[in-house]
């Protein structure tokens, strides 16, 4: 388990640094999917295989494809110099981020979590589904949260269409009659 843990930590964190520091935007997107795959591996280790499947489907699949579409629409995929992609706060931002990370890591590892034993996660997909739908004991709030999330997704789909729609007469329409 520790071998897998160290391997996944290296994969996740090195890919995350690749997102921040790579000079090509497309490479950043691909590094991002590598980092998400590492997180999916962690979910498998943490007794949540269904969530790992969701992670691969939604993040590695859908979000990466959507971001690649955004890159395709907005810029040429070319390697740029660091001065053009990173603003002047390189080291100041590094100090702030290192401070945040060190503080969070210190607080989280200094806290006494009491009796921690691995293996409490909903390994069975059935139990996980009952939790998610609010059927099981103590998870009733998820009935409401599930409905709110579905309404939020509907609103987000409509909002994405409305925000990015080309206004009538506002641009060049090739072959489209209004």
């Amino acid at each position: 388990m520790t071998v897998a843990f160290v391997f996944l930590a290296g994969m996740t964190l090195v890919s995350a640094l690749g997102v921040v520091l790579s000079r090509s935007v497309v490479h950043s997107a691909l590094f991002m999917s590598g980092s998400f795959l590492g997180i999916a591996g962690y979910f498998v280790m943490l007794n949540a295989p269904a969530l790992a499947a969701f992670q691969v489907l939604i993040y590695v699949g859908a979000v990466t494809v959507v971001i690649l579409f955004g890159i395709m629409f907005t810029q040429k995929p070319q390697v740029r110099r660091y001065r053009t992609i990173i603003n002047r706060q390189f080291w100041a931002g590094f100090l702030v981020a290192a401070g945040v990370g060190a503080f969070l890591a210190y607080v989280l590892s200094a806290e006494d979590w009491g009796g921690t034993e691995a293996g409490n996660g909903p390994r069975e997909v059935g139990a996980f589904g009952r939790d998610l739908l609010g059927v099981s004991q103590g998870a009733e709030i998820f009935t409401l949260l599930y409905e709110v999330a579905s309404v939020l997704l509907l609103v987000a789909v409509v909002a994405a269409i409305v925000v990015s729609r080309r206004k009538i007469g506002g641009g060049v329409d090739r072959g489209v009659r209004e």
Binding site: A16, V19, L51, I58, N87, G93, N120, S164
Partner: protein, 119 residues
């Protein structure tokens, strides 16, 4: 069967042992910090979105680690992580739509050049 030295046996035991809760929490914190760094220093709006997604994944990892390790959590952190993934997907859809709208009107996605609301 040959005798295995004690140190080697301990090393092998450490390799197959279950990592502690703090390991997952520290990895999540470092992932969050790397995302913060990228969101602070990059100029491209799409890359800033990617860094926000990294931060969300760090928090998700923390949630799922708590759900697996704390007995009283009842495994519900995994369900919360599903909700977080749904909300992040909604955020990325609306955010990229906004980036496309800004690009259509200004021909750039450089956040340093979109300053018309600066006070």
């Amino acid at each position: 069967m040959p005798e295995i030295p004690t140190q080697v046996q301990q090393f092998l035991d450490a390799l197959v042992s279950v990592p502690p809760l703090e390991g997952y929490l520290v990895v999540g914190a470092i992932l969050f910090a790397i995302g913060t760094w990228g969101a602070l220093i990059r100029r491209n709006a799409v890359v800033i979105f990617m860094c926000v997604e990294l931060m969300i994944n760090g928090v998700n990892l923390t949630l799922v680690a708590f759900a697996d390790y704390l007995p009283n959590a009842g495994g519900l952190g995994v369900s919360y992580a599903v909700l977080v993934i749904a909300i992040a997907a909604a955020e990325i859809a609306v955010g990229l739509a906004i980036v496309l709208a800004v690009f259509r009107s200004r021909r750039t996605v450089n956040v340093d050049e979109v300053t018309s609301m600066r006070g």
